[in-house]
């Protein structure tokens, strides 16, 4: 079989946690850095299973894009949509600043 593309280092896990937007603790990063290589080693066998001629399957039942008729139908009232929001103001979701600079 071909070698697994690469191992996974603690620095990789730090990078992935950033991509996934999860503020992992040092202990969690250490733990994942030891666990993930074993899992990846196990799943890497998929690379030997099929050649280039085998098409990828994204869904078990073929899926076509579906359009619905463009008709008005009942939808959530604003107060229902906002009911679970951590913060809201004037019928809008209230979010923290989206730019990093203060």
């Amino acid at each position: 079989m071909s070698e697994p593309v690469t191992g996974i280092s603690r620095d990789d896990v730090v990078h992935l946690a950033g991509l996934a937007r999860i503020d992992l603790s040092d202990a969690e990063l250490d733990h994942l850095a030891t666990e993930l290589p074993a899992i990846l080693e196990h799943v890497a066998s998929v690379q030997e299973a099929a050649g280039d001629d085998v098409p990828a399957m994204s869904h078990p039942v073929p899926v076509d894009n579906v359009f619905r008729e463009d008709v008005v139908r009942p939808s959530l009232a604003p107060e229902d949509a906002l009911a679970a929001a951590p913060a809201s103001d004037q019928q809008r979701f209230l979010v923290p600043k989206i730019l990093g600079e203060s």
Partner: protein, 503 residues
């Protein structure tokens, strides 16, 4: 007086129709049972006695008025906490959704409500359905009614345990890699994963969209068929919902005849790693099928050796993408980072996701993020998708020669709580027999076939059928269920130890 909690859904439906009992009486009996035993089992995250009794009273009134009602009207049900229920908390077993009350119903929920089934409550599960033991629930594990020191299976351990402990005759589960069938096997109950697209996923909080499927969790094959028929069917709200008519599953469960059926034993799903007691009960069940006139052969599906690897790439990849929506902005918990003045949305998002997600969810999100990243995508996610194609071709070839395939549902019986919590790979290996059905969209059913000699715990046999041939599962399983119960002189669950009743 007979114990209403022990009745099957079919028996209850008939007693309700003939007005021997009222839905309020049945519902109250189950609410009382939950109050008496759920302290030990923890099958429920939320019990809605008031709402269930109100539905029951409404159904009773409508029946008294002579209204035409659904067959299962008035028969109570428990719903896995991953399905949106308007007005009832839906946490998915996660702190991320602590206290979330959805503003809409999942299609499955809407169908249950429209048919007049009182919803007893929401059942415990591994967080966002990620796990095989229900130990990854942020609200504490569910305990197996057969031995409360053991896992009930997962992710739908709550639904399976609720049904096994006679807290509900019916429950809804969801199955992404075995989360209906494996808990069924481990608790001595029936669990069915329908054909992908057979039951709407609208309002089912997604883990892996191309694998997830909701289905019935019950104590008998006929009850599963009745519930399957109720929740299945095309839904314009789910673009992957199949437009075909629902297979005649109830008629098949009533037919229960395997004479002349060709059944294939999957060679790769046995042997090493399979507990002797599991194999013994499985082999005896297969002999019973043979004695009833089925033609049993051995079938090899070589690509199965890649299935587990493909599953543990496809699933985390899709999960990492699906769970990106939990961004602390519109719903779910918002936990600002400690010690940061005026944090940005990105910082709030990252600290909220750290606080809201548990270990297994974080592990799968990171794994999925890796498998989807540039440079690794083709090697991991792309290769895994090719495995689905190869697996699908192999199964199609197998089904050309047989009507059904069989295997043990789980390689082992229920293991002690905590046993595999620190070894994710060991836990993943337990899914080997159930995940292929999800990867290729075929239906599967787990039926209890006895207790393993070494530990007296339930063993499940899995039937697999081609896509859209769900009725074949019910026919064969109902036949085997009858043969086994004739042999045992009763149901398997009647041999479960009595739970201590709290007062």
């Amino acid at each position: 007086m007979t114990d209403l909690t022990r009745k099957t859904a079919d028996e209850l439906a008939r007693s309700l129709a003939s007005k021997e009992v009222s839905s309020v009486e049945v519902t109250q009996a189950l609410v009382d049972r939950i109050g008496a035993v759920d302290g030990q089992i923890h099958a429920f995250l939320h019990v809605d006695a008031e709402g269930a009794l109100a539905t029951a009273a409404d159904v009773d009134a409508r029946r008294a008025n002579g209204e035409q009602l659904s067959y299962l009207a008035g028969v109570p049900i428990a719903v896995k906490d991953v399905l949106a229920t308007k007005g009832l908390p839906t946490t998915c077993g996660s702190k991320m959704l602590d206290g979330w009350i959805p503003p809409y119903d999942a299609t499955v929920t809407a169908k249950i409500k429209a048919a007049g089934l009182p919803i007893l409550g929401k059942t415990n599960m591994d967080e966002f359905a990620m796990g095989s033991s229900t130990e990854h629930s942020a609200y504490g594990p569910t305990h197996n009614p057969w031995d409360t020191t053991r896992i009930p299976g997962g992710s739908g351990g709550g639904s399976a345990a609720a049904v096994a402990a006679f807290e509900a005759p019916l429950a809804i589960g969801t199955d992404t890699g075995g989360s209906i069938r494996q808990p069924g096997a481990l608790t001595g109950t029936v669990g069915v994963k329908p054909t992908y697209g057979g039951v709407s996923r609208y309002g089912l909080v997604a883990m892996a969209s191309s694998l997830d499927q909701a289905g019935p969790v019950t104590r008998t094959v006929l009850d599963a068929a009745l519930l399957h028929e109720l929740i299945a069917g095309h839904d314009p709200m789910d673009s992957t919902s199949i437009p075909d008519a629902v297979p005649a599953v109830v008629a098949a469960a009533r037919r229960a005849d395997v004479k002349g059926l060709r059944i294939g034993i999957v060679k790769e799903l046995g042997g090493e790693g399979f507990q002797p007691g599991v194999e013994a009960r499985f082999n005896e069940a297969v002999e019973l099928l043979t004695s009833a006139g089925a033609e049993v052969v051995e079938v090899s599906i070589p690509s199965l050796k890649y299935a587990l690897g493909a599953y543990y790439l496809v699933m985390p990849s899709e999960a990492s993408s699906n769970l990106a929506k939990f961004d602390a902005m519109r719903y779910g918990v918002r936990v600002p980072p400690a010690g940061v003045d005026d944090p940005s949305a990105e910082q709030v998002m990252a600290s909220s996701r750290d606080a809201g997600f548990g270990d297994e969810v974080k592990r799968r999100i990171i794994l999925g993020t890796y498998a989807l990243s540039s440079g690794y995508y083709d090697a991991y996610y792309g290769s895994a998708q090719k495995v689905r194609t190869v697996l699908s071709r192999d199964f199609t070839a197998a089904f050309a020669g047989v009507d059904l395939l069989v295997s043990p549902t789980s390689p082992t019986t229920a293991y002690p709580l905590g046993d595999k919590l620190d070894d994710p790979l060991a836990m993943y290996l337990g899914d080997v027999a159930t995940i292929p059905a999800n990867l290729i969209g075929i239906p599967g059913l787990s039926l209890p076939v006895g207790l393993a000699d070494e530990d007296d715990l339930p063993v499940g046999l899995q039937f697999l059928a081609p896509q859209k041939a769900d009725d074949r599962l019910y026919n064969a399983a109902a036949a085997l269920e009858r043969l086994l119960e004739d042999k045992w002189g009763g149901t398997l669950l009647s041999r479960a130890p009595e739970l201590e009743v709290a007062r």
